[in-house]
């Protein structure tokens, strides 16, 4: 039995039409369509392209929040695919975003290997390179006959459970993922050679290319502190005494929320710290050193601030991945918004 693969393409590659047909609604057809021929021949006899799912680029883009993804997933699911290919999209921006979106959804929801392809400057590449394998293509569909065999090869490798090598070997756009391996030489030995090369002005390399850190514009200033609702957030690992929610001492997987309602200070009988990255002795004795409930309560009484929220939000900062920290905030920010929080103090140790 050949292994089943489903292929996603847009209205243009399906031969339905160009810009004028970009509102074409989702449709699935048995067998191959358009570039599916190239895919079929690159995959070989042990694989079968059982269906081709087609969607107009504009339809996809304007319905991305209105259920186009679940709709497509339902269509794809019926064919019980074991692998999924989207595009390649080359330099077509909306098509690239659609390929990335659907490939990621199939990977996450149907748990099968996926691959797509696009030109490195396609906006879809930056959006999805961390999530799915994107074969790097040239900027026009003239590259189809070179690109499709690479897509097919990488899909087969994944479906056969073989080790996927680096971006250079496989031809995908670098995902920015840090993967371990055992080097032939130990680190110190390589470092010694590297510093000599650097001093001599010879070519050098780095194991870890510096990432570009994104910046966010500051939120507008608070106008009326005396009526503001202030929330306290910390990465100092402060938890309820006994750590009922098992917050980790390092590499936190979650955030917690604890009540400070009616408390005039943070007492050691109520709170403790589990942070594994500093000497906990001081904060253990007086949690106010990290969550300043005492001072905030006094300021609240004086009318300097409107209200100290009845809870604080906490996690452990040390060893916690930046993406996890981002996710925590994405999870609790809606809560802050719902509770009409006007300003936040975030205390890090």
């Amino acid at each position: 039995m050949p292994k089943k693969v489903v292929h996603y393409i847009n209205q243009f590659f399906a031969g339905i039409g160009g810009e004028d047909k970009a509102d074409y609604k989702p449709e699935i057809r048995a067998g191959i369509v358009g570039p599916g021929l190239a895919l079929k021949s690159a995959l070989g006899n042990e694989y079968e392209v059982v269906a081709t799912v087609i969607c107009g680029d504009n339809y996809f883009g304007s319905n991305i929040d209105k259920g186009v993804v679940p709709e497509l997933l339902e269509m794809i699911k019926k064919y019980k695919p074991e692998g999924f290919v989207a595009g390649p999209a080359f330099n077509a921006g909306r098509y690239g975003v659609a390929c990335g979106t659907i490939a990621k959804a199939v990977q996450d929801e149907l748990h099968i290997p996926v691959v797509t392809g696009m030109y490195v400057e396609n906006p879809g590449a930056d959006m999805f390179k961390k999530d799915v394998y994107i074969i790097e293509t040239k900027n026009s569909s003239a590259d189809m006959r070179h690109a499709m065999p690479k897509l097919a090869a990488l899909l087969k490798k994944q479906m056969e459970g073989k080790e996927v090598l680096g971006p250079k070997e496989e031809g995908y756009i670098e995902k920015g993922i840090r993967v371990n391996y055992f080097n032939e030489r130990r680190g110190s030995e390589r470092a010694v050679d590297l510093i000599v090369a650097k001093v001599k002005g010879e070519p050098v390399y780095t194991d870890y290319p510096l990432p570009v850190v994104d910046k966010v514009a500051p939120a507008p200033a608070l106008k009326d502190l005396a009526h503001a609702r202030i929330a306290l957030v910390t990465s100092g690992g402060i938890v309820r005494q006994g750590n009922p929610d098992h917050l980790e001492s390092s590499s936190a997987s979650k955030w917690c929320k604890y009540s400070i309602e009616g408390m005039d200070h943070a007492d050691k009988k109520d709170f403790m710290t589990v942070h594994g990255g500093y000497d906990r002795a001081f904060i253990t004795e007086d949690p106010d050193l990290c969550i300043p409930v005492d001072v905030l309560r006094e300021l609240e009484k004086k009318g300097f601030i409107g209200k100290l929220m009845d809870y604080f939000i906490t996690t452990t900062g040390t060893g916690t991945a930046t993406n996890s920290a981002k996710r925590f905030a994405e999870e609790y920010v809606p809560l802050l918004k719902k509770d009409r929080v006007d300003g936040v103090l975030l205390v890090s140790t």
């Binding site: 391996y181 055992f182 001093v199 870890y208 001492s249 990255g277 000497d279």
Partner: protein, 428 residues
Amino acid sequence: MKLELGKIHIHDVQFGEQTKIEKGVLYVNAKELEAEVLKDDRLAGCHIELARPGESVRITPVKDVIEPRLKVEGPGCVFPGIMGKVTEVGKGVTYCMDGACVVTVGKIVGFQEGVIDMSGVAADYCPFSKTQNVCVVMEPKEGLETHVYEAAGRMAGLTAATYLAKALKGMTPDETETFETKPLLEQIAQYPDLPRIGYIHMLQSQGLLHDTYYYGVDAKQIVPTIMYPTEIFDGAIVSGNCVAPCDKVTTYHHEHNPVIEDLFKKHGKTLNFIGVVLTNENVFLMDKERHSDMVAKLCEYMGMEGALLTEEGYGNPDTDLMMNCRKVTQHGTKVVIITDEFPGRDGKSYSLADLTPEANTMISCGNGNIVLHFPAMDKIIGTQESIEMQIGGWVGCKHEDGSFDAEIQIIIASTIANGFNHLCARQY
């Protein structure tokens, strides 16, 4: 300063009536060793267990690992200022018990104690899966304050190593290596055509239960200073073990500092190794600023053209690392950083907590967040009770059959950030 290291190879360890070395086998009189360790009244109990490479044995929670060494000729003793008077070390002759280690094991002090597996997949990541280990399993007295217990544990390891080292007396080394660094001006004159390279060694000193010690002084009390490289081979630096297990620069790793070893290998060939700048990692920003200023000044003063830079630990010490890199570069010394990485289990986050554009040549010691399955072992030296609390574990990571899942940062020295191992991370 010139030091000869005489290595006596050890390929097996056994209990025996007398502590001695015979034909590469270390025999240990457990009773005598236990009695020696128990002279410390802070400990309620102690027993000795042996672990050899390839055995189905897990050692945890591990505090420190130490190679027994004996001063044979020249001033001072091994671990000066701690196991004997403060005397300058680094010259003369020192014997090493090559291939054997003391491993201190005991009820958890903090979250920072780790795991050594003597076989299985985790053994690939741990240098001490390949050594003959004499495990000192300690029990503290009831109600001992944690800092006091830690000090007792640290001393137990050094005491045991000093006791075992006596067996080296009168032996004939299987292998001898000589290391020499001359006073700065002479050293520079010796190889005028080779690049002048130094090493900036950052000692963990965050006061997290315990610290690193230099000639017996707590490293958080030092300002940056200059050291002859050979001093370290005589135990001038003793571990404080206050970071994630994977990052621990154990006392063994100070005795075997790989940067110093590898710089000596190329000394007089491709480079001129002129010395070590010793600095620390502090918990106050002012100290970080002051000490990185001083490091940059010392590098410039010594005429260093290039420097290797290592840290112990992750998180806020990354700031010390980056400050040192930036300021030293700006003072005219080129820098290569050796570091490990913590980009999350999926490898998608930033690897370090802080960055600077000058950090453009970094050697990676691997991603410490990768999750591994640790198979059940026939024998546990110590206890697996606290695995879930140890850094790298999590609640629910333990399975009924004695196996568990954890990030490789739970393994002692798995991603040690001085380049001791071959583990590395690359970008996919």
